[in-house]
Symmetry: C2
Subunit: 406 residues, 2 copies
């Protein structure tokens, strides 16, 4: 839908059929804005040389890595060595480790910061919704709504229903990994550890109403705590009682373990892989997904000596997203922002020539572009609940228009 800005588009995956399906879906929807290249490739992205060869062959200027969390370091290496800009949507993970010591970025991505700067390579980390858009909300709040910020509580609620007994919204292996270790949060300027489902809060949120969310470890805390002078940064994820119950049963029985067990018949099996095998394929949920997501930043601090509280957020509708792109809102909110980031690199506005987390880049062009791409930003504060429109009186800088492609 944005190939006028982005130019040729190539899609690569270990399973090339998945790419062919996407290409076919785009062509069927007649979504290409201008005639252009949209091509599928087979690629094992853990193979750095193969990835470099593909980047060079198709002359890719920007690589969006939306593969599994285990690929980041390989794809980043291929970009650094070829000079292509790099974008991802989630932090790198070692498949053998769960919940490493904070800050997580310090274990992997940030070890390449100096090299990116030296080579002049743009690498934008965590450009999905959360992390990603919520980091831009935090940067906007700091720039425009506060003199000092005391706390940022990122709240992620999926009030949608897929109609199945139980399912995860993305790969169960990755999904459960988020909740089986310790929960790291930034409180009073230090790292604090809790157990999952130990701390919860209830908020009356826009559109989705009263929702209970649980203190959860999440990527963005690990960059926001380093990049913003904010003493309290927490992440809260909404879970229904049913989800927690199923998760608790599976975890307590040992069925979420990534360590193999041996059956009475002598077969070695990793329980988590069997759980994944019996759960619905997340992609299969989209056609019947109903309801909305609400994801935003509840920010408290001071402005002009007064206490201030704002909630900057987005609401998405599963069925509307499915009608538009064939995916539900969890995929939509994570998939659209990196495309916006790529467009901002293409236009030069975010072509930082260094490694950056989202809060280190100007938030307005990103949020304004997203509002034209199905992810409008709203704000709720003492003055009410409204669309964030970047009028001149609120925004000292003129909103930037997306220019033509390279």
């Amino acid at each position: 839908m944005n190939n006028d800005v982005l130019g040729d588009i190539h899609i690569a995956s270990r399973t090339v059929d998945k790419c062919h399906a996407i290409v076919q879906s785009v062509l069927e929807k007649r979504s290409l804005k201008t005639p252009g290249v949209l091509q599928a490739h087979q690629l094992d992205a853990l193979d750095v040389e193969a990835t470099k060869a593909l980047i060079t062959r198709i002359r890719a200027g920007i690589v969006i890595n939306v593969g599994s969390s285990f690929l980041n370091m390989s794809v980043l290496a291929a970009c650094m060595e070829t000079g292509a800009a790099y974008i991802d949507t989630a932090i790198h993970e070692d498949p053998k480790k769960i919940c490493e010591t904070p800050p997580w970025y310090g274990n992997y991505e940030w070890t390449h910061r100096a090299e990116c700067e030296k080579r002049g390579v743009t690498a934008i980390l965590g450009a999905g919704f959360d992390p990603g858009v919520v980091n831009a909300y935090a940067a906007l709040a700091e720039e425009q709504y506060f003199d000092t910020i005391d706390s940022i509580d990122i709240i992620d609620v999926n009030a949608g229903s897929h109609g199945r007994y139980f399912a995860t919204n993305f790969d169960p292996e990755i999904n459960f990994r988020e909740f089986t270790g310790r929960v790291w949060t930034w409180q009073e300027k230090q790292w604090t550890a809790n157990a999952m489902f130990e701390v919860k809060r209830t908020d009356d949120l826009p559109v989705v109403g009263e929702q209970t969310t649980y203190l959860t470890g999440h990527d963005e805390i690990h960059s926001l705590s380093a990049n913003l002078d904010v003493p309290n940064i927490r992440f809260w994820m909404g879970f229904g009682e049913h989800y927690i119950n199923v998760f608790t049963v599976l975890k307590n029985l040992g069925l979420l373990s990534e360590q193999p067990v041996t059956t009475a018949e002598g077969q070695e099996v990793v329980p988590l892989k069997v759980v994944k095998a019996v759960l619905p394929d997340p992609a299969s949920l989209a056609p019947n997904y109903q309801g909305k997501t609400c994801i935003g930043d509840l920010i408290k601090g001071k402005k002009d000596g007064e206490d201030r509280e704002v909630f900057i957020y987005n609401v998405c509708d599963h069925a509307e997203n499915y009608a538009e792109v064939g995916s539900q809102a969890i995929s939509y909110t994570a998939g659209v922002p990196p495309v916006a980031a790529a467009m901002l690199i293409a236009t030069g506005e975010w072509d930082a020539k260094r490694m950056a987390n989202i809060e280190q880049l100007p938030p307005r062009p990103f949020l304004e572009l997203l509002s034209t791409m199905g992810l409008p930003t709203r704000i709720r504060d003492a003055e009410g609940d409204r669309d964030l429109t970047f009028p001149d009186e609120e925004a000292p800088r003129l909103p930037r228009r997306v220019a033509a492609g390279r």
Copy 2:
């Protein structure tokens, strides 16, 4: 403990080490009443010829089959062909089928009734506690307490606690099979189907107090309905909310399936076997098991024109059973009765020379013998709650004493 009556004792299993452990435990406890043979043998009991050879070689007069439910037909065949008496404690099952059409005995055991009678072979079916002792309670009630019986509700409550998050009291593969199909009961003289956990009742039971039990399919309904003229025969099993929750989660996710699934990595796995692998070994629960079981028959009908209601039952204590034999009460209540049945065959009182379910045999010698072996019978009715002592005024026949062995 009863080799004065039973004579030589041989123990056979596919895994001979299990037999050696039992032999060692008996010798350590100095439990043999008189000096005699107690010997272990390796045997695949699905191999009828091997079983016949062992029976012949050791000159076994009585075979107690307490192997898995999948072995009954093979062991019965070996007994019929060698003339040894046969005893089991649970109905035959085909590993590939769950909850077959009633009456279950009609699908397997009873197809050999004529042959047993022709050969004069004693085959006593379902001689554990339930089925087994509860069938004798029903027969006693019919013989002594009622002119007509309207309903027999067999209630099985384990109010004990093993202190683990979740465990089954015997092989999870067999345990869960009882609850994953339809629940067959005998109501108004016909077979009625319900779903598991669809129908429940709450009773204030002796010793264990108020307990909720659920309508469950069970072996004894399938013989009692054929052998007694009673229009309503139901089985109720006690489950805590936690057990039901874990079971429901596993079942709904498909993790109790005996059909293989394929993991993302291409491995074929039977989910139920993985669940079994992560659950505690039932035998490991015994040392810490606390609390009591209460299993009995609540029987309603008429006697001398008056309505009458009796509850005939037994209460067992997990820790006491463990101290005596090294097993908890679930094993104790199932394991002691077939030994009593064997002793009654040895003394001739139950040497029926045909195939019989327990309710077709005289109940008093069995119940009286069990009361000397750790499983006393109690009765609760309008006259109070007391030990059943078979006094002459209640029992027209003199209690039979166990005679010396063959």
